[in-house]
Subunit: 550 residues, 2 copies
Amino acid sequence: MKITLSQLSFHTGNFAENTAKIISAIQDAKQIGSDLIVFSELATCGYPARDFLEFDDFIQQALDSILAIASQCTDIAAIVGSPRVNTLSKGKALFNSAYFLSEGKITHITDKTLLPNYDIFDEYRYFEPNKRFEIISYKDFKIALTICEDLWNIIENPMYPTSPMDELIKQGPDFIINIAASPYAKTQIADRQKVLSSNARKYQLPVIYVNHIGAQTHLIFDGGSCIVQANGEILQELNYFKEDSKTFDLIKKNQSIHIQVDNPNPIKSRNHYEDIENALVLGIKQYFQKLGFKQAILGLSGGVDSALVSYLACKALGNEHVWAILLPSQFSSQHSIDDSLALVQNLNIQHEIIPIENTFQSFLDTLGPFYKNTPFGLAEENLQSRTRGVILMGLANKFGHILLNTSNKSELAVGYGTLYGDMCGGLSVIGDLYKTEIYDLCHYINREREIIPANILSKAPSAELRPDQKDSDSLPPYETLDALLNLYIEEEKGPAQIIQAGFDPILVQKILRMVNINEWKRWQAPPVLRLSKKAFGPGRRVPISGKYLS
Amino acid sequence: MKITLSQLSFHTGNFAENTAKIISAIQDAKQIGSDLIVFSELATCGYPARDFLEFDDFIQQALDSILAIASQCTDIAAIVGSPRVNTLSKGKALFNSAYFLSEGKITHITDKTLLPNYDIFDEYRYFEPNKRFEIISYKDFKIALTICEDLWNIIENPMYPTSPMDELIKQGPDFIINIAASPYAKTQIADRQKVLSSNARKYQLPVIYVNHIGAQTHLIFDGGSCIVQANGEILQELNYFKEDSKTFDLIKKNQSIHIQVDNPNPIKSRNHYEDIENALVLGIKQYFQKLGFKQAILGLSGGVDSALVSYLACKALGNEHVWAILLPSQFSSQHSIDDSLALVQNLNIQHEIIPIENTFQSFLDTLGPFYKNTPFGLAEENLQSRTRGVILMGLANKFGHILLNTSNKSELAVGYGTLYGDMCGGLSVIGDLYKTEIYDLCHYINREREIIPANILSKAPSAELRPDQKDSDSLPPYETLDALLNLYIEEEKGPAQIIQAGFDPILVQKILRMVNINEWKRWQAPPVLRLSKKAFGPGRRVPISGKYLS
């Protein structure tokens, strides 16, 4: 049997476009004599469709898509993810389903059993878990069809009481298919390969895996669909961060299954920062595409964060679509301007220099009667940052551009940023990278030639909102801060555990308090492209008005 | 048996304060000879604790609280909600539990079965559903102990396949206790009374209901704990929007249960707008208290939204803690200033007049080289709104006040507001009230004397960001807009259904598109005090970069 893995990018709610893409892929697969083509989870409607799933109209459009696709499935079968109505009298309104389409109609439906409901996942919000297990017979093969999380319960202390494959294996399947919408995170590729290999080995069956690719607001789906041998070896991997397709032969000989792939492409060792760069570029690119925008604008401070975002924006949108604005004040150093200009030259992007001093002074004059007899402090610093924000938004609004936010995870964590100032923007590009990771990524980008000017990477970070200010005036060194934050945010360790890991108790108390009292700012932050297992945004939900470690 | 219902306000994560409150209530109950005191769901840690529940340290503190409370439970029993670790090898890490404490120790634990995971609820994110059903024997009574949602599955087409009471009833309980954290919404009080009465009637048992009271960021818990007779009659209701406590006698005579209440306080008919006003006042009050702030600042436009928020802030914080700022531009009408000054006088609050013209002009000068040859448009309007935002935040930051946001639900829905401008603020007070509801609430407030100046209520709404601007220039009348939005947002109707309800198809398409393309702004909006079953914020999760009705 010839099987085609079709790894495509879908646009949430864009049924016409998604359906046309699926049908076009089916036609291509028919041309090369494929017997079965496999698409990713919830392919008709995109993933995650979130509360759009609560609209009957949306679900009806998904069903209409399935029927349109089914009509094309003659001389070929297709597996397509789509939501479907739960027609039982009890339970949630929907199932997260995989339709098996052949002979021009729906011939089988498999529903998802294990519904992830942690981190950025909310599937139990919409879907009823499956309790029916039935393998699919097609062309002399018996297929165990599963959906994403269904294969992820094979760890110790599993999160779910049941595992679908433990049921399906009783019916003697020949191989496993898993259709997924599994987003990228720094550790996810390795975790996913391990899970798929473990399933293959545990059940002694090949695994055919088709993942979603593309970015949906804050989530980046990396693809990496693959074919796994029954011994756990990954025989063939599809591209990461790109649409891709691959057809192979599955042959049954003496009750044993052989996989035959032309030009096998086994997994290769991955470069951590190459993956992060590709993820962010895809995240920016599809955010603009899907919203129908072309042009990015951003403020250049002379620091490493805005330099990195400029580079990534150029890769995603083309350097002709990136507009860099320098907004110096009386506290800006000459090297900040020079370094920014060097960057602009390296990237070959349009730039403007718009001094903020006059408007900042106008705010100071206006507020003078109230500010008099108070020392220059955070309020005055914020005024500068917000003046910049207003100018950048003024240009973005006038010309229909999207302002890119350049906040990093370290500063978002401790609240070292101005809400409505440098926290402005339609998309936070590097808000899930700690400052130390940002330096490492820049060094990776500079591996062959200097793109980010060396001076930007070597000088001490500063917000330049008062004379001779340095980040280190109010924060510990970033190596210390980031390691501490990682324990608290990603690892969810409490203060005792963090102190035990070797951090100063007073520093731990101070930093955790800073994180918690600044939740009100993060609530209003732009969507952050997710790179870690705990990014700020929908994956990390904490109270604002709580009193815990604060 | 004497039973005390203890309806208290808890602070999320503030274990010391919550535990002290619970222990103090137990001591009071002991003094009056109570045999059993009942507290609300997750009382030790507050509700919702959200991802704080993922910290071992947090769960340990909850257990420490339970042990400290248990040690006080001599000569009295207490039911206290608290999270607990799932010690089974499978399933989610925690249970949402009700501890039965007596004889100085934990004598029984009941775990929640039905875990709400819709709207603002995320309980399946943290908790494993209970599958063990056991009634509690105490002082010759058999108690069916349930937790909030456990009683809510008695509708047609229930959301959950099982109902805990269907199991517990088999063991012959004498009465039902339900401990809850059920937030207020406009229809919730009636729905809740109906659910409790239906349970009493269905199982022919009295129901003792203890709800949480207090506000947690965007959620307002209204209390309304009560005692329901086996015939469904609500015999006694505790206060709404206030802490309260009530003790009554439960008497067993000839296998039948009698409830004896001194000064019974049966349910009374409610005033819709009185409830909304009380909810919002509680929401503001506890947001400030729990964050440790005293003073509110807000911008007065001369319109109805900021007038209403000023009034509510005065009720919540005291008029001496509300600072009103008028920020006129060249487009502000004299009546806006006069109406604002009349309001300020009615409320007796401090005010300032800070003209924005100079700073607005400074932005125009700065942006002049880029704006030249473009018509005055949205970008210029936004500049004014953002200039006001920066000034208000400049005062809030300097003096440690919280800026109250005055956006309404109609404008948040269609994106008729400036991000980082009038969308600024720490808390959106009326962001879950449509414009028409705001007028109705103001008329209710003015029922005895004119508090909101009549002119504010009679003039046509205008943003006053260009000469002679009116909201009706770009929006349909608010009666039409709000009715349409309600069908789409609260009722989740699709375009065909809305058109069928009598709305113009072109208008429907235009408005739904406005709602969907403005999701990026709402993502960055302040927390909105929730009053409806579908408020903007964590209760309504839709993609930004989707393509649906947009």
